[in-house]
C-alpha cells in the first residue's frame, strides 16, 4: 500500500479514537457534576486535564494538589476548551476535522460509507459552538458524536477489506488508545492518592467514573461485583486482555496489526519489537508490582505512555517516512 495512504488511515484511527475518548471524558464529567460536591468535581476536572497533559484554561495545572490556589474554572469554559477551542489541537472538533481531512486526502482508499459517515460527523460539529449544545442537554451532543465514531468503526469492522489499509487504521486507533489509557490511569493515581491523606483518597464514585470512561463498569461489576478495590480496578484497566479499553488489549491489537503489515515478521522492525516488549512487561512484570506503591506504578504507566510515543516514531520510520536510499524493492 502507498505509504501516504497508510499514513492517512493510521491518522484517521488516531484522531477518531482521540475524539471518542474526549466525548467519553466529558460525558462522564457531566455525570460527576450532577450530584457531587464542588471539590470532588474540581478533582475530576484535574484528573481529566492531567490525563490529557493539557493545562486548563485560566490556570496552570499544578501537580501539588494541596495548593489552595487552584481555581475551578467553570464547566462551560472547560467543556468548550476540550470540545471546540480552535487553539486546542486535540479538541473534539479538531480531532474530527483532522480525521476527516486525512480521509479526504486518501479518500480513494476509504470506503464510500466510511467517508460519508465521517463527513457527516464533521459537518455536524463544524458549525456549532458550546452555546448551542449548552442550551438544553449537552450530554446528547457527546453521545451523538461518540455514536458517529462508533458507527464509523462499526462500518469499518463490518465492511473493510482486511488488507494493509485496515491494519493501519487499527494500528492508529490502538496506539492512541494505549497512550490515552496510560495517561488517564496515571492521572487517576496522581489526583486521588498523591497527598496520601484520607481526604484525597479516591472514593467509590471516583473509581466508578474511571471505569465508566473506559466502558468497563459492567464487565468489572460481573467480575468483582461493585467492590471498588483500587488495585483491582487499575489492574483491570492495564492488564486484562479481554477488556477492549485496557492497555493490554490495545497492545494485542497493535501486535496483530504489525504482524499483518510486516508479512508475519514483525520482529524485523523496531516497532514490532517494542510493542512485543511492552506487552511482555505487562504480562510478566506488572503482576509483581506492589499495588500500594503509587509512585512506582505511576512511573510504569508513564513509561508505557512514552513507549507508545516511541512506537509511533518506529511505525513512522518503518512504513511512512523511510529513507529511499536503503529501501529494498517491494
Amino acid at each position: 500500500m502507498l505509504s501516504r495512504s497508510a499514513q492517512g488511515l493510521y491518522w484517521i484511527g488516531r484522531y477518531l479514537e482521540r475524539a471518542q475518548h474526549g466525548c467519553r471524558l466529558i460525558a462522564d464529567q457531566f455525570e460527576t457534576m450532577k450530584d457531587r460536591p464542588v471539590d470532588e468535581i474540581d478533582k475530576s476536572w484535574r484528573r481529566l486535564y492531567l490525563g490529557l497533559q493539557r493545562a486548563p484554561v485560566g490556570g496552570e495545572l499544578r501537580s501539588n494538589l494541596d495548593d489552595e490556589q487552584f481555581m475551578l474554572v467553570d464547566a462551560y469554559t472547560l467543556a468548550d476548551d476540550l470540545t471546540f477551542e480552535p487553539g486546542n489541537p486535540d479538541s473534539i472538533r479538531n480531532s474530527l476535522a483532522n480525521a476527516r481531512e486525512n480521509a479526504r486526502q486518501v479518500r480513494n482508499v476509504v470506503d464510500e460509507d466510511l467517508w460519508t459517515c465521517l463527513n457527516l460527523a464533521f459537518l455536524e460539529v463544524r458549525d456549532i459552538e458550546i452555546v448551542d449544545i449548552w442550551r438544553d442537554r449537552p450530554n446528547e451532543f457527546y453521545r451523538r458524536t461518540e455514536d458517529a465514531v462508533r458507527t464509523f468503526f462499526g462500518i469499518a469492522d463490518g465492511a473493510m477489506y482486511r488488507d494493509d489499509g485496515w491494519h493501519f487504521l487499527q494500528l492508529g486507533r490502538f496506539v492512541e488508545r494505549a497512550q490515552l489509557l496510560a495517561g488517564l490511569i496515571d492521572a487517576q493515581l496522581s489526583v486521588y492518592s498523591a497527598g496520601g491523606s484520607q481526604a484525597d483518597r479516591a472514593t467509590d464514585p471516583d473509581w466508578l467514573s474511571l471505569l465508566r470512561i473506559c466502558a468497563a463498569q459492567d464487565a468489572y461489576g460481573r467480575l468483582h461485583s461493585l467492590q471498588f478495590e483500587p488495585a483491582a480496578v487499575v489492574d483491570f484497566l492495564v492488564a486484562d486482555p479481554l477488556l477492549s479499553h485496557s492497555v493490554r488489549y490495545a497492545l494485542a491489537r497493535i501486535c496483530e496489526a504489525l504482524d499483518a503489515v510486516s508479512a508475519g515478521r514483525p520482529l524485523l522492525v523496531e516497532a514490532g519489537r517494542r510493542a512485543g516488549r511492552l506487552a511482555a512487561t505487562i504480562d510478566y512484570d506488572w503482576p509483581n508490582r506492589d499495588p500500594g506503591d503509587d509512585s512506582t506504578n505511576r512511573a510504569t504507566l508513564r513509561e508505557i505512555g512514552d513507549s507508545c510515543r516511541r512506537l509511533h516514531d518506529d511505525i513512522d520510520a518503518a512504513y511512512f517516512s523511510y529513507g529511499v536510499e536503503d529501501s529494498p524493492e517491494a
Binding site: 500500500m1 502507498l2 505509504s3 501516504r4 497508510a6 481531512e101 479526504r104 479518500r107 493501519f168 529511499v324
Partner: protein, 492 residues
Amino acid sequence: MPVEQAGTGDPAEGAQLFAGYGTDPAFYDEMFDAAGAPRAHCRELWEALGETTRDEIATMQERAERSFLHEGITFSVYGEEGAQERIIPIDIIPRLIAAEEWDFLERGLRQRLEALNLFLADIYGPGRIVADGVVPADLVRGCPQFRIAMRGVEVQHGAYVSVCGTDLVRTHDGFLVLEDNLRVPSGVSYMLANRQAVKTSLRNVFRRHRVRGIENYGRLLRQTLAELSPRGDADPTIVLLTPGVYNSAFYEHMFLAREMGVELVQGSDLVARNDFVYMRTTGGLRRVDVIYRRIDDDFLDPMAFRPDSVLGTPGLFNAYRLGNVAIANAPGTGVADDKSVYAFVPDMIRYFLNEEPLLANVETHLCRDPEGLEFTLDNLDRLVVKEVGGSGGYGMLVGAHATPEERTAFAELIRQNPSNYISQPTLDLSCAPCLTDDGAAPRHVDLRPFVLRGQETRLVPGAFCRVALTPGSLVVNSSQGGGGKDLWVLSA
C-alpha cells in the same frame, strides 16, 4: 428582445414546470423548437416533468445538492478565502441529445483527436506539416507549451493525448468546437456524479427514457492507460499523479483513482532511481509503469522542466524518455490546444487524414497576424478575446459585457503582446431549461465529452454539460459561477 412562449405543444401537459419558459429566437434551444413545441426527442421528458409539480421538482433538486455535500463532491476555488471547498451546483433537468446527433459528434470527435495526435507525433518527429507550410514554424516553436525535450521520444501507439476533453457549443449553425483540452482536462467525475444524482432523484423520468450508459468510463480509462505500459504485461502498475488536496480538481483525482483501483500519488510519493520510477509503499519501493498525471508539464520533473518547482519528481522525465515509464498525457501536448494552433486544426485534419473536418471550428482571429490584430482591436465590443495559453475562463475579455474602460485596458494588453491573444465572435450558445424559483428558464450550456486514446480510440456516450446559472451569462466555467447538468444520450 422578442420572446416566444414555449410549452404550448399541448396545453394539458408539461404545463406546470414550463409554463413561463420563454425562448429567445437568437439562441438555439435544446428542448424547444422555434415554434415553442418540444423537440421530438425531448417530448417524453417534457411530458414526464410536466406531471411533476414545481415543489416536487424543487425537492428533488435539493436532494441532489444535499447528496453532493454529504458525499463531498466538491471543487476548490482559488483566491477565495474560507470557501476552499464548494459543491458544483447541479441543475436537475437533464439535457437530451438525440441518437443521430451523438453519432455525428462521436465521429467528429474521433476524427479530431486522431488528427491532433498525428500533429503532435509530427512536430516532435519529422516536422512535415511545418516544412510543408501548413502550420507556421514559429507558431509551433514559439509556443510556451512546446517541449523541445520531447523531440524523438517514442510514444506508445502515437497516443500523445490519451485523455481529451473537447468543449463543444451549439448555435443555430450546429455544433462548434470551442477548444480542445489536451493537457489535463477535468470534469469527467462531474459527468458521472451528475448522472448518479439525477438518476436517483428523477428515477421515474429516467426509466421512461432509453439513456445510454456512461458508468464504464473508469474501466475504459484503465484499459487505455494499461495499453500504454512499456512492459506490455497484463497487469501494469498504474498511478494517478495529483498535485494534492488543494487542487481544484482533487475530488476528481480521488474519484478516478478509486474507479480504476489505482494508487493516487503525489510527486513526493514517487522516486526515480536508476532511470526507473517507483512509489513509496509500506513494503518498500514499488515500480510504476504508467502515470496518469493530473499536473501540468511544469511540475512533473524539476530537472527537465521547471527547476524552481518543489512538486515534481527529479529524474522522472529521463525514465520516461528511456521508455521505462509511460506518462499520460505525454508532456508537450499543450502545444496542440494552444488557442492559436487551434485555428489550424481543420487544416491538420485535411493534411493528415485527407478528410473534411466534421466538427467546425469557431471563427478565430490571430492577433499575431496584422489583419487579425486590426480586426480584433476594431471590433472589441463584439468579440471574445482570449490568451492563447489560458484556460478556466481566466485572462479573457467578453467584449460585449465589458465596460469601455475595461476594453481600453485590454486593448493595451493586446498591443503589448499581440501573439498572446486570439479573438472570436461572441457565440450564441444554445440554451436549455434550468430550474429556477419561477419554474424552468433558459440558460446557456455547452458540453465536454471525453475521448480516450490508447491502442484504439474509445468514448462513453456522455459529457459534462456545463451551464451558466446566471440569467443571460455566457460563461459556464465552474470557477466563474457555472454549474452542471446531466446529459442524456438517447439510444436509437
